[in-house]
């Protein structure tokens, strides 16, 4: 039987299959953060259940954390309380906890791979939809709700019907100024935010093979934005090279044994997908969104489509443009912006800051722009310093903040004010996502950098 990469990993983790029901799926690694876990821990207490495998569970604080003055007590009492609850729950149940101020602290989907918690062929869940990020390593990784967090804490399993399989193949190579973020926004603009719902995606082809691990993470991260539960890429030499000798990676003989398994993780020739899509890498431009969901994106060179050109309801489309303060037919390039946010589990890795630096080097931040540069983790923060990027940022009058989810979902103080436009490297441009009334334009770190120094939407290729 020819199997896909997804089949191989899924099938090897099925504890039992229920007829006309879900599979009981064993979870290798469970990541936990402060927002979606407290009610799950409370549920355990109410049922008098322990955490079954604390050594398969990893906790970090990220969603609520401030990105300035992390050494001081958290000012917001509700955030402080939630962070404290995570620390107490982790301690009580013997779960490793990388809280605020810990040198391993950072966004859950950034630190997982950094410390080798993320591995090929593993099943990984977290109460966060962008858990799909870890699929970049050939893992099955997806977001779950709090009831499922409780389930995994209590039994290390969840109950899921096996999703359908989709393969998205992109061959060719990317043009100058086109990044992994653009590839993902391009796919989502083709598929819409519901086009892959019910599917698990495998990304294949030359474009993904050529991407770095950071780039693959960006692509897999955004799988959820096309409705897919997750996305994955077959592990290769780059993958093995990345994870080798990280803290939680197998060592010595265990590594050799793991490699035996990992080297079987690819889609067999002739394996069948429920759906296959093909695109040409050379056809992708730098992208930007103009509406209120990630599917409302287009080449930065294009004009905003008219309602008649898009699928779906006219009323919803018009409501979206009204929220953004945009009109059909307008060009995006040249529109003024107010904020730039670089960071998040989508684009908060070292490669993203290198890209940002490549554009802003030798320029100055535009006066009308407030810029928030938020590394995804302490490791990223340290690399920014060690590689000399911080000097470039400071010379260009940008300040660096401390790690966390920050303005991606604005649970902390990093909120874009109502009516203001923010070019963001994050993942969602929903109404109010970055603060009540905030208007988000999703784009790559290059587009964000170009906007940050020109004060308006600018094709980064004009600055390279």
């Amino acid at each position: 039987m020819k199997k896909t990469l997804f089949d191989k990993v899924w099938d090897s983790h099925v504890v039992r299959s229920i007829e006309e029901g879900p599979d009981v799926l064993f979870i290798d690694r469970h990541m936990v953060h402060e927002v979606t876990s407290p009610v799950a821990f409370l549920g355990l207490e109410n049922r008098s259940l322990p955490v079954l495998y604390p050594n398969r569970t990893f906790a970090t604080a990220d969603h609520n954390t401030p990105t300035l003055n992390q050494h001081l007590p958290v000012a917001d009492p509700l955030s402080r309380n939630q962070l404290k609850a995570l620390e107490e729950n982790a301690n009580k149940h013997g779960i490793s906890y990388w809280g605020l101020g810990h040198q391993k602290n950072g966004i859950v989907h950034v630190v997982g791979p950094e410390y080798g918690i993320t591995q090929p062929g593993a099943t990984i869940v977290c109460g966060d939809s962008h858990t799909s990020t870890h699929g970049a390593f050939g893992a099955i990784a997806f977001g779950i709700g709090t009831s499922e967090v409780e389930m995994v804490l209590a039994t290390q399993c969840i109950m899921q019907p096996k999703p359908k399989k989709m393969r998205i193949t992109i061959n060719g190579s990317l043009n100058k100024g086109v990044t992994p973020k653009d590839v993902a926004l391009f796919i989502i603009s083709k598929l819409t935010t519901s086009g892959a719902t019910g599917y698990f995606v495998e990304y294949a082809g030359e474009v993904f093979e050529q991407l770095s691990m950071e780039g693959r993470m960006t692509v897999c991260n955004l799988s959820i934005e096309m409705g897919a539960r997750g996305g994955m890429i077959a592990p290769d030499e780059k993958t093995f090279e990345y994870i080798k000798n990280r803290e939680f990676t197998p060592q010595g003989a265990d590594w050799d044994k793991a490699m035996e398994y990992w080297s079987t993780l690819y889609t067999d020739e002739g394996a069948v997908f429920d759906k296959e899509l093909h695109y040409d890498g050379a056809a992708i431009d730098p992208m930007i969104t103009f509406g209120t969901n990630p599917g409302m994106g287009m080449s930065i060179t294009k004009a905003i489509p008219s309602a008649s050109e898009v699928e779906g309801g006219k009323a919803t489309y018009e409501k979206s443009l009204e929220y953004m303060g945009y009109k059909e037919g307008e060009q995006m390039v040249g529109k003024p912006i107010d904020y730039v946010f670089i960071g998040s589990c989508t684009n908060g890795r070292i490669e993203d800051f290198r890209a940002f630096a490549s554009i802003v080097k030798g320029h100055k931040k535009a006066e009308n722009v407030t810029a928030w540069l938020v590394p995804g983790s302490h490791k990223v923060l340290n690399a920014i310093k060690e590689e000399g990027l911080l000097e470039i940022f400071e010379a260009a009058e940008f300040k660096l903040r401390e790690p966390g989810c920050s303005a991606c979902l604005a649970m902390n103080d990093d909120k874009i004010p109502a009516g203001k436009y923010a070019v963001s490297t994050s993942n969602r441009n929903f109404e109010g996502r970055q603060g009540p009334g905030a208007r988000t334009l999703l784009a790559s770190p290059l587009v964000a950098a170009a906007a940050a120094i020109t004060g308006k939407i600018t094709d980064p290729r004009t600055l390279i």
Partner: protein, 198 residues
Amino acid sequence: MAYDSFNILSSTAVPLPIENVDTDQIIPARFLKATERKGFGDNLFRDWRYNQDNTPKTEFVLNDATYSGKILVGGHNFGSGSSREHAAWAIYDYGFRCVVSSFFADIFRNNCLNIGVLPVQVSAAFLTQIFEAIDNDPNVNLTVDLHAQKITLGNDMGVEHFEINSYKKENMLNGYDDIDYLNNIKAEIQNFASNTPL
């Protein structure tokens, strides 16, 4: 019993004919800071329901006394975005027990099923018919019969079959949840785990 069992629900419905309603709209992130599952209904659709000075937006359907009931009817691709179960909690806490749409986002659907809110997926045509019927008569009833997997509009204005896997159906009919099931097979899970490297 982990939550209320669900059998037949007959109720008027609240229409929300907007597509791609994401979970950030259902409950904005700044209201996710609780450590207990309490009070989320107050912030259901917070930014569509209230102005920034906390006065109600009178045109929003939850502020319109014409519409009420235990069933929420939403546009295509309802519940997309974040995995926050708080969205399902807010819907439940407000008083809804069923959400009807022509398409649901995956994680949202799961979250609903896990807390006893029934997601009912109908055809696009039937969804339009439901919206029109409510528009004509806000007191029109929808009847959702889980056992028969049938949703009926009014007395005889239309009926459609809906899908739910038999495991989840049994759970909803009895108010069981997955942890009840998994706890009963813990030995089997532990045996599986012993053969699975960390």
